[in-house]
Each structure stands twice: as C-alpha cells, then as structure tokens.
Amino acid sequence: MTEAPHAGLAVNGTPYESVIGIECHVELRTQTKMFCGCRNVFGAEPNSNVCPTCLGMPGALPVPNRLALELLVKAGLAFGADIPAFSKFDRKNYFYPDMPKDYQISQYDTPLTQGGLVEFWVRDGTRGRCRLTRIHLEEDTGKSSHAGSRDGRIAGSKHSLVDFNRAGVPLMECVSEPDIRTGPQAVAYLETLKRTFVALGVSDVKMEEGSLRCDVNLSLRPLGSSAYGTKTEIKNMNSFRSVERAIESEIARQAALLARGERIVQETRGWDEAAGTTHSMRSKEEAHDYRYFPDPDLSPIAFAGDDIARLRGELGILPNARIERFISDGVPLVQALQLIDTPGLAAYYETAATLSGKPQATLNFVLGDLSRLANETGIPVHASRVTASALAELVALVDAGTINSKTAKDLLGRLWADGGSARTLVESEGLAQVSDPGAIDTVVAEVLAANGKTVADYRAGKTKVLGFLVGSVMKQSRGKANPQLVEERLRAALETTGVS
C-alpha cells in the first residue's frame, strides 16, 4: 500500500523491496488486571500484586475487566476497525514458567476488533499507510530475570527468578498487514500507534517499562513481485530506534544471503543492541501446537451498537486529525510532530493560537522560548505558570507593536518564574515599546555624540558598525525602543552630513 520502496535495495542488480509486518503488545492502562482485582502498576515490590487468579492457583477463576475491553475497542475505533458482533476468549496452551496457568487467555479466531488503517507521516515528509489485521485482547505473563549468569541473559544462568506482578495485566495485541517497506516507515507506524493510544488514555506506551513490546516480521522480494519471500521474526527491540536499526540490519543480512544464492530460514531472530545484529533464537521447525479452544470459564463478549457509539463519542480529536490541521495551518511536519508528541503541548498551542489569532507567532514561542524553558526547568509548558491566555496576550502585544521581541523574551522568562499577566507587567513597568521618532532621535543623538570614532568609521564606509550603534541605542533605551525605527533614524542621522 505504501509507495516508497527501500531506496536502492538490490540483489545482484535486481531491485528488491522489503516486506514488513509488525505485531505490537501494548499494556492497557487500567486500575486492575485483566481477570482479577490485583493492581496493574509498574514497579511494585516483586510478587506483591498477586492473587489466586493471576497466580493460576487451583480453583481460581477469571472475570474480565470491562474497562480493558472498552479501551481496546476504542483503540480499534480510532483506526476505523470493525467491532464484530461476537467475540470470545480462547486458551493458548503452552508451558512457560512465567505463565501461571500454563495457558494464556487470548483470542484466536474472534478478535475484539478486525481491520483498520494506520496512516502515518515519515520524518522525511512522506506519508504512508498500513492496514491493521486485528487487535485482540490477552493477558500478560510474569517477568523472569536470570540469575547466575554474568550478563543477566538467559544463556549461562542456572536458574530464573520470577515476579508475577505483571502476570494477568491486560494486553492488546495489534497485528499489522505486511504493508511497511522501510525502517523509518516502521518507526512512523509505531509512533502513530503510540501517540494515538496515549491520546486515548488506552495505554501509557512506555517501551522502557515494557508496556509496549513489538516483533517485526520481515522478508524480501523482487520489486514488483506479489509473492512473499521467506520471513523471519525479529524480537527483543527495546526502543523505536532499535526497531529501525534491527530492520536495516535484517534487510542487509537477508539481501546478502540472497546475493550469495543462499536460502532464508524461517525463524525467530533476536536483536542484539550492542552488536547491532540479529541472531537466531529458534527455528519454526520446532513446531508449536497451541491447542487453542474456547475458554470454558468465560462467556462471549458482544458489544451493542449503543456501546460502540458511546465509545466512538469518547475518542475526541485524534492525533492524526490534529497533525493534519497543524499542517494545513502551515506548521512544518517536524514541528507538528513535535507539538503532538510533547504531552499537553498541542492543546496548549491550540488554545493560545485561538486566543491570539496568530498561529505562526504563537508556534514560534511554543516551540522556541517556552520549549527551551521547559527543557531547562523540567516543567512541561502546559503545566508552567505561563498560561495559554498569558502567552496569547504576549503574542498580541508583540503583534500590536506594543512591545518588541526582546522585551517579549524577557517577559516570558518572568512569566515562567512568577506567572501573572503580560499586559499588567508591561503597564506597571513601562515596558511598552518606544515608537516615537522624536524620543528615539534624542537617544540617537546622544549615542552618536558619545561614539565619534565609530561614526567616523561608518562614514568612511565601514557600514557594518551600524549594528553596534543600534545595540547601543537599544541599550540606552533599556530595550524598549522599536528596533526598526532605531535603525531607520540612525541611518538618517548618519547620512545627514554636518552633524557631529
């Protein structure tokens, strides 16, 4: 569906393209786990949020969390997915020490949502789209760590330590169609999922806390071919950057194999962040027989039209729609993404821009001075003492020529520290810009009188000293003079012979 193939990818002179699908596991933001009332929180003491149900104790039973179901449906609706009339939970049977029941409650053939389309912007300015196959609900596993080995990895360890706090946390699995072609597209797809889920309150999507994990399926084929090549599945990426690197690395590996006339083995490969390469984890020949069957402990889920309409109504304005609007307002793509990906910033900008009626000037303050102050102080712009209305007032003061940009910058620093109203400060401290030519001429005359040598230099043709003279006038006026007018009056004065 996307048009941009991997630039320059070729095998022995034949142009090739990579075909990429992504499976994401995203933890849902609920108070409690999927099937029990234990808390769903990150970072609690090991094995402190566990009960008979999420520990798979004999006799315990699951009861689904309504909110988790609704959050997942909202996630699907945000991308135009269908919500089937009937959905059920199935058991996926396999043994693993961090999976308490030795089966995972998941969904096999009746996911809660089907289809959907993710449209995204790649940072190079191109757009792309990737179809969703499905989003289904399942429960997370516990977390193992591997004591006894030097580097904490599984290999070389004598035993593993398991914390079941994460076991049973609601997880949505988002499966994409193989519509992605490049690493940057993959990142753009993931960023779009992330910002949408964050905006919906569906998940906090923190890869570093494991609330988003993704696997990449990748194969190569001659450009123009519709058949798929043999794919590999890549796991263990812990950032969007590593997803991109892993994809580039795997494309290069597969291309090199094909160039040598070798076969690609269908297998799972792990990404090694330090080495920058993927390595074989196991081959698919070691077949899994998950013995899916409907979970007899749970009843089917049927969302009624009313429920779906209500959830659709709760979606609000989605990040993609806002990006679209920013771009149509003339905001460059990279800055539109910066606005949307900084928590609270887009809404702050939108409010201030609406109040001031000057989107471009507002954007410059938001992404410039305010973002710098936010970085320096660690306080997000939207939570700072500079309210959106105070910023709008400031923008209006600049626009009206009441204050100059130097004063505006200083004022912003004071508003950041102390809050308050820009207009009040300007009035009480007499910071309004001086645009009276007579008053400026007085200062200009003083400055020229005090800088005879510079004036002589200028008149001798060294016109670049004008800047120094402008600065001196500005300083003399304590920054309040209108800079354009200062320059204009200075030139006039300098070019008038006989003044000394």
Binding site: H25, T30, Q31, T32, C36, G37, C38, R39, E45, P46, N47, S48, N49, V50, C51, P52, L55, V63, P64, N65, R66, L67, L69, Y96, P97, D98, M99, Q104, T141, S144, S145, H146, A147, G148, I154, A155, G156, S157, K158, H159, S160, L161, V162, D163, F164, L171, E173, K235, N236, T268, G270, M281, R282, R291, P294, P296, L298, S299, I301, A302
Partner: protein, 105 residues
C-alpha cells in the same frame, strides 16, 4: 477423518509435559487407542449443520468493574513455592544453554 488408531502417545506426552517410560507409552497407547475406537461412534452422528455448544447455559458479557480487590500476602504466596529466592519464585533455568527462547506474549 476420525481414524481410531492415530494417537501418537509420545508426541502428545511431550506436548502435555509428562515423562513416560517406554512401557507406559505402550500401555497408554493401547488403552487410548481402545478409547478412541469407542468415541469413533460419534462419526455416526450427523453434525454438519449443528452449532457447537461451548457453554450449556448461554450467557454473554459477564464482566467486572475495574475496581481493585486485595491481593494475597506475599509471604503466603512464597511459602507455597517449591523454591524461592527473596521475594521471587525460583525456577530452573528456562532452557538449555544452546537455544535461547524469547519471551512469548
């Protein structure tokens, strides 16, 4: 379709994670093959257009609110563990050294 002598006991025991001696594999194979011959009687039932019953008393949308309930005391939980290390369950190393298996979700 419902071949009665088709159970591969060794394969099924592997899936079910039960170690069987050769004798047991043989004995269970005989017994289970006999049982499968009995259940093959179901082939005589015409079921093509019959819906499958997963739940005999139908219900749907049985859910709970997202409200926390108390968890178990950690000591109670860990005391029951065959092996523990501090606040963790201690389990044998997850797989043999030469084949690293990733986390499934």
């Amino acid at each position: 379709m419902m071949a009665s002598d088709d159970i591969d006991v060794a394969y099924v025991a592997k899936l079910a994670r039960i170690a069987l001696s050769p004798d047991e594999t043989e004995r269970f194979g005989t017994q289970l093959t006999a049982l499968l011959e009995h259940v093959a009687a179901l082939e005589k039932l015409a079921v093509a257009d019959v819906p499958a019953t997963a739940q005999v008393v139908p219900s749907e949308n049985v859910v709970r609110d997202d409200v926390p309930r108390p968890s178990l005391e950690r000591e109670t939980v860990l005391e029951a563990a065959p092996e523990r290390q501090g606040a963790y369950f201690r389990v044998p190393r997850i797989i043999a050294e030469d084949s690293i298996v990733g986390e499934e979700t």
